[in-house]
Each structure stands twice: as C-alpha cells, then as structure tokens.
Symmetry: C2
Subunit: 356 residues, 2 copies
C-alpha cells in the first residue's frame, strides 16, 4: 500500500474492517497501519493520542470515576493468499478479519464517535501480538509507560464469537527427553533404542486425565499434549535420544510454578526441561466494572481457554476480559472471515454500554 492511506471512520464498522484488512500488517510491518490509525485519531479533538513504536494509545480525560481500557492488536499472522478482503454473502473474508481487525474497527468507531462516555476510556492499539512474547507491543507499553495502561477494567477485542470470555489459561512447554545407547541397527540388541523408550512418554500423555476446574464461576478445561517429537541419528543407527515437546495448558487456579512441578512429577522417569511457562489470569468478573460490562453485553460469560494478553493486564492488577465479534476457531486459517452483522452487533452493545 502507499504510505498515508487515510482511514474513513465514518464508514460502518464492517466496511472499516475491510479497509483495515487491506492495509497489510503482518507482525513487524505494522508501520503504515499504525500511522493511519494515529492520524485518524489525532483528527478527533476529544482524544489525547500517543505513539510508542507501532502502538497507539488514545484516551478521553473527562474526569470520570472509572477508567476502562479497550485494547486490540493490529498485526496479523502471515498472509496466506487471502488478501485483499472480499465480501461474500454477508461474510468478510481475508487475513485478520476475525483476528482481530473487526475488533480494531469497533475500537476506532467508538473512539471517534462516543465523545461523552460514562467512563473514561483508554483505546490501546498495539503491534506484534502474533509473534514471540518479547516483541509484544502491549508488553513494551507496560514497561515503557505502565501508567498509560492504568484502568479499572480492560476489554481485549480478541475473537470470542460475541461472548464475554473471562480470564485465560496458562501455558507451559517442556522437553521430555528419553535416553538410550547407540548401536548399529544390524545389531540393535547391543544398544538401547531411545525412540522405543519414548513410547512410555506418549503413554503418559495418552492416559492423562485433564482437569476441568471451575474458577470464579467459569469452567476451564486443561490439556496436556505432545506438540513435537524428534529422534534419530542415521538410517542405520539405534538412536540414543528422543525428545518429546509437551505443551500443558492449565487453569488460572494454578501458577506457572505449580504447573512446572506437576509436569516434572508426571514425567519423573525422564529428563524434563521446562522451556517456557506463563501463568493465566483469573476471570475477574467479580469486579464492579467487569460485572456491569458482562450484564450490559448479556449472555453467559465463559472461560477463555487460550492464553491471551488479558494475562498482561492481570499482571498490572487490571481485571480483563476478552470480547470481540470474530470466531476464535477461524483465527489463523486461510479461510478466516467475520460476519458483518456480528461486527455491527458487537459495536452496538459496546456503544450502548459506554453511553450508559
């Protein structure tokens, strides 16, 4: 795209979504889209706008007793032949339609048009959510200017199918290593086959009974899975090592430390290296602002099973939920799409809530 494409915030949220989708913004290349968002928000006289890298923060300052943050990431996974966007039978197709430029379009509509909300609002647009944690724009903002994320309650407009999703599960990755002894494969009995030994690791995974605990009223569902396996030296060698990479998704009543201890215990017969562990976030629906939001949106809140950036708000002491028009099952798929009517409905409900 050419630098300086101008966003038209007077479009309906669905049409604005299409405009956002057509400004390609794969993680690390959000510059043009961040620029367009910043320019559009600076045109709104009632907002204070700041830019940090490819993140943009815009806020009302009306002296309201409560402040709410509406946050969304503006990057996408790599394009998979699904740009430009395409409208077909009321469904808008294209990279980022569901995850999560439809949510970003709603943020922009509310930011520009709800000039007199009943709570003060901080609109956060950030980069690099789809890549490794260290590059995450919300993490960078929380380090560079934690005050800019200060709020009584936060909503991430991640795809949830229009249902309020509370909290999120934690995630841990570990390498579980079976060892053996090399030998020529023509004389296998002189060695010990580490791949055969790894069958024991897979047996633990296959027989694992995952918990489904209720936390703060929401039902979570854990999972323990192999996400990778690797072993082998050469076609004529009994291998001396086989590594199973395990991913443990755990409910927010369990800390990252407890999760690591559980995995070490389960695989006690083998070498376990925890390579990555981050806790989840409790639903936080008992806070006043969260409860009023959930009541205004209606429906029955459910637990968020995937890890999301609500955990970053939780770490700052800000209760947070996920709520957006996209379908989480479509995220990252080539056929990603969002129903135009869902975008409009989501926007209308949030608009009504902000207007009191």
């Amino acid at each position: 795209m050419l630098p300086g494409v101008k966003l038209d915030l007077s479009l309906a949220a669905g049409e604005l979504t299409a405009q956002l989708v057509d400004i390609e913004s794969v993680s690390g290349s959000e510059g043009p889209l961040a620029g367009a968002i910043e320019a559009a928000l600076r045109d709104c006289g009632h907002l204070a706008v700041e830019r940090d890298g490819n993140a943009v923060v815009a806020r009302t300052d009306l002296g309201r007793p409560q402040r709410v943050a509406l946050a969304g990431h503006i990057d996408t996974v790599p394009v998979a032949g699904n740009l430009p966007s395409r409208l077909d039978g009321g469904l808008l197709y294209g990279c980022g339609t569901s995850d999560m430029k439809s949510g970003v379009a709603i943020q922009l509509k509310l930011a520009s048009e709800v000039t007199d909300p009943v709570v003060d609002v901080t609109y956060v647009f950030y980069d690099c959510e789809e890549v490794e944690s260290e590059r995450n724009g919300l993490l960078r903002l929380s380090r560079n200017s934690p005050a800019s994320l200060d709020a009584d309650f936060a909503i991430l407009l991640e795809p949830t199918g229009g249902v309020v999703e509370g909290g999120c599960q934690g995630t841990l990755r570990a390498d579980v290593r079976a060892r053996g002894e090399r030998a020529h494969s023509a004389r296998a009995w002189m060695g010990r086959n580490a791949i055969h030994e790894a069958a024991g690791i897979l047996d633990v995974l296959r027989s694992y009974q995952a918990r489904q605990p209720t936390v703060d009223g929401l039902a979570f569902r854990e999972g323990l899975n192999a996400v990778g396996i690797e072993g082998g030296v050469a076609g004529n060698v009994i291998p001396d090592e086989c590594v199973v990479t395990v991913n443990y998704r755990f409910a927010p009543d369990t800390s990252a430390e407890q999760a690591a201890a559980h995995v070490r215990d389960l695989f006690g017969r083998w070498d376990v290296t925890v390579t990555d562990a981050v806790g989840g976030a409790r639903p936080g629906l008992d806070s006043a602002a969260a409860a009023s939001f959930a009541a205004a949106i209606g429906g029955t809140p459910r637990a968020k099973l995937g890890w999301t950036d609500v955990a970053r708000f939780a770490a700052l002491g800000v209760p947070a939920v996920n709520y957006g028009p996209g379908d989480p099952a479509l995220a990252h798929s080539r056929g990603e799409h969002v129903p135009i009517v869902a975008v409009a409905e989501c926007e209308a409900r949030m608009r009504a809530w902000l207007r009191g």
Copy 2:
C-alpha cells in the same frame, strides 16, 4: 599428502596398514590412495592392472581351473581427529585401521608376493563404500565391466575379527505415518494428536519378536527398529502428522519383496512408504571354493548381520564371504584400531590357503 607417495609393499602388513591409513581417503577423495595402489601393483610384473575411476583391479592369469576375488574398499568415513595413525601397545589406532585398510594391506601383500597361487586371483580395490549405494565403486565396476568381477568365489576383507562371516542380512527402511487433525493446543479436543497416535506404532516395535533363523547352517538374527521419528507443527498446534522411520534387518531366506510385505502387514493401521529395500545374501558356504577356504582358515563360520557388498557379488552369481582382521564393533568409531598381530595372522592364513 603430496601426490605420488609411494607404497612400500615390502613392509610387514601392519606397517603397510599404517602407511595406507596415513593417506587420507574419505569417500570421494580416494584419488591419491588409488593412484598409489595402482602404481605399486603395476610394479609387479605378474599382474594385469586396470583402473576404473578410483577403483583398481589387478589379476593373475595363470590358467588355473578356479578364480577367487579378494575385494576391499579403500575409502573411510570422515576423519574424527584420529589421523595420523598411532601405534600403542601392539594396537594401531586411526581412521580406517579396522574398516578396512588392514584388509587392504593384506590384499596388497598377497598380490605382490604370492606370484604362483593355486587359484587365479582377482584383487579388487574400490571406492565409495561408506556412502550412498549409487556411488559405490563395486556397483560401478559391476556395471562398467562385470567380467572383471567374474570369479568362483569372493572374499571381502571387511572387519570380522578374523572369523569367516557368511552371507549378509537384507535391510529395508520404511516411513510409517500416523495422521491426525490439527487444532489449537488450547482446545486439543477439537483435533486428533498424530504424535499420541504414533504411540501405537512404537507399541508394535516394542512388542515385536524378531526371528533368529538358521540359513545354510548359519544363525541369523533379525531386528525391527525405529531409527527416526518426527512430528510437530508449532508449539501451540496439535500436530496432524507424525512419521516413524523404521529399519528392518532381515535374514537372507527372505527377499526384499517379502520383507516389504511383512512391514506393510505389521503396520497395516497406518500409511507405510518403503523408501529403500535391498536383499541380503545367503552364506554360500556350500560351494567348493568357499568350503575349502573356510576349512583352511579354521574356526566356526558365523552369519554376517550387517549388509555388506557380499550381496553385490551374490547378485552377480558369485558366492562371497567376509573375512578380515578388523573388529566390526570398532568400525566408524573415533577410537578405531586394529591389533598388529591380528593383521599378521589373517595374512598368514590367507597366504597359506593361496599357496595350497
């Protein structure tokens, strides 16, 4: 080494081994060693010498009723910090000492000194045995000039610890593929984990009862093993594919086709792709020349479990055995070595046999 190093065939076989080892000849770089061997053999008036690439064939033509081939490869696996050779306590250390320049030294000693053998002898020195089959010098010779390999009986001087090893087992490699269905690992139950499914493949391997059949009087020992495993898409994805690479070593009473059918049958629940299958060779110890050789060497012949180039002679209709001074367990190891006394003993027994 400098081009043109001259071999001294008057050295004892052990010392000649050291000279050969010190002329580095990793597969594909056998030129200098092949040149030195060719030059040394051309100096022997009683031999007709031919060169084919980095292979050298030298033959007596005495009109004897029987012809025997003595064959050895002159290449080695990559050097592992174990050159130049080093003599320590009667053991000669270095890359290729066992596999199989000690055998090559014996060939050279016999070729130059046994000018009047009771059988005609074809001495074959060839390249690229330690790499993929298509580059194998013996295979090339069998295509370029099959007549040069014509014989009633062949002996490969591969390491056998001074015992006659008959025939060889076949080897087959197959990819056994478990399939599943991708899903986000936070919602694993929406997919099917192919790595967990592959546990069934490993169960078949772990419970497999390998045959130990007797073929032509020699006891073989089969084996079925995983030599590789690979699966996984990303750290947050339930994988839809896991491939176990299986190596089947089968006795020479079974053809490559029968071996493939057996493996397909065992893993019938999964996709099986046979990537490589080559039959073994029956011991052939019932041929007159083989029996006389085995009797002259003494000891109890045993089965060769690894695949060797005896199968190439067998494919040409030439019964063949392995017999050499090296220790097969040391082949390809950094600490590879050969006892000087074993080289001398092996040479003496073969010399006596050739002299009648």
